[in-house]
Amino acid sequence: MGSRGDLLVQIAQYFATHGSEYVHAVVQHVAITLAATGAAAVVAVPAGIACSRFPRVRGFVTGVFSTLRIIPSLAVLFLCISLIGVGEAPAILALALLAAPPLLINTTLGFSRVPGAVLETATGMGMGVARIFFTVKVPLAAPLIIAGLKTALVEVIASATLAAYIGAGGLGTIIFTGLGLLRSDLLMIGGVSVAGLSLVVSALISWTEKRLLPWEA
């Protein structure tokens, strides 16, 4: 496999010859991640709001999603393949299923933790239902929703590596190639890139959080 020096040379060579391929893999990885997390949010956030409002829905929905959470992502992926075949769509579906639980649970918590006294005075001051929702409930639930989003994104970024396995591309392609050819340079590039992406996204969200939520000391 060669020494550490060889490894660095190999890595440099890879970027020199496969630079555009690498960029493509990163872009694909990000695109799959955003599509899956976005799809999950579209379903899970409204479902979470419904859960916080109706206790009966809450029992059922959180039950379903908690169960979903126990199933390993690889198993979900295989299930998706057997149902809708290979390619990008089943990968995004599987990853969306993975992203949904943290989003749903945190949205539910966020909305149910808005203090009753705040809602009472908001109503008492003459704010309408829609105004209370958008200017009071949403901002006060936002910190937890954003925390859920962060968890979801980090999980999806890591698991999206598996998407390459079913032909959806992304950084997993580099890793699987590395495994197939026993090339530690490729494994290193893929692994570090996935970890780096995760860190960058976390940092971006933390930064947005501070901008968006100045009252959260």
Binding site: P115, V118, G124, M125, G126, L140
Partner: protein, 285 residues
């Protein structure tokens, strides 16, 4: 919106108002009839569960009466749009309920914004109100509620409720969670503010001393019913029934119109003073 500046006497009337909560076997408020004049500061006192909060919340329609009628400045409140009605009524509760994601200034600006005040007028009013509740505007206007003490939060709650100079203020144990010394200061400020503007206040407390110190008249409730509604002097001189006697006894011997409360107020705030004689309608939004 209801015309809140035309003086109509009485300010607030209850006609056989009853409230029974769903599935309850008793009336939380039971056939209450009374009339409150413009500019009065009525304190509502009674044991826990006597229906004080329920009575108060029917006025701004957070609760709907089961029977009876509430008339605010000549208008049946059930005929008004509840959201519009509430914008003309100040509301303060024990837990304050400040918006944690808004600064002190933004909290105070909520109702002015709802009423589409321009920013210059709102800004001037914020400064004026912070001064009124004795908070330094430069120091506090941009703070978030989490950066305030309990007493300061309640001052902001009061300022927020007073923002558009509502004709009626509803206060539900506003100083209930505040230490004795701070509470005493806040009580005196409330008296000063009330004396200066002569709006109608309905103030709930479970503390008979506070009720006697603040009230131009005191409304004593028990089991959802009015036990006595009179000036502190009248109640002290002639308690209406056994319950009132017990309530007075529970507060010790020194219950009565409080002298120190009126020291710094111009209009003469000792209990029993006739209302409506003040000329101090100087501050308006």
């Amino acid at each position: 919106m209801m015309d809140v500046l035309t003086p109509v006497s009485p300010a607030l009337e209850f006609h056989h108002v009853t409230k029974r909560f769903p599935d309850a076997g008793y009336n939380a408020v039971d056939d209450v009839s009374l009339s409150i004049d413009e500019g009065e500061l009525v304190t509502l006192v009674g044991t826990s569960g006597s229906g004080k909060t329920t009575l108060l919340k029917m006025v701004n329609r957070l609760y709907e009466p089961t029977a009876g009628q509430i008339v605010l400045r000549g208008h049946d409140i059930m005929a008004a749009d509840p959201v519009q009605l509430r914008r003309g009524i100040g509301y303060v509760i024990q837990q304050v309920g400040l918006f944690p994601h808004m600064t002190v200034a933004e909290n105070i600006a909520v109702v002015p914004k709802l009423l589409k005040w321009d920013s210059a007028r709102t800004g001037a009013r914020i400064d004026e109100l912070l001064q009124l509740v004795q908070l330094d505007s430069a120091e506090f206007a941009r703070r978030y509620p989490a950066e305030l003490s309990g007493g300061q939060q309640q001052r902001v709650g009061l300022a927020r409720a007073l923002a558009v100079d509502p004709a009626l203020m509803l206060l539900d144990e506003p100083f209930g969670a505040i230490d004795a010394i701070t509470r005493d200061g806040l009580q005196n400020e409330l008296l000063r503010i009330h004396a200066a503007h002569r709006r109608t206040y309905l103030f709930v407390t479970h503390d008979i001393r506070e009720a006697f110190k603040l009230g131009t008249r005191v409304l004593i409730m028990h089991g959802g019913r009015v036990q006595q509604f009179a000036t502190p002097d009248e109640i002290a001189a002639a308690p209406a029934n056994e319950f009132v006697v017990e309530l007075l006894a529970s507060a010790g011997t020194s219950v009565g119109p409080s002298g120190e409360a009126s020291v710094e107020t111009s209009g003469g705030m000792s209990a029993g003073t006739s209302v409506g004689t003040s000329t101090g309608d100087d501050v308006r939004g």
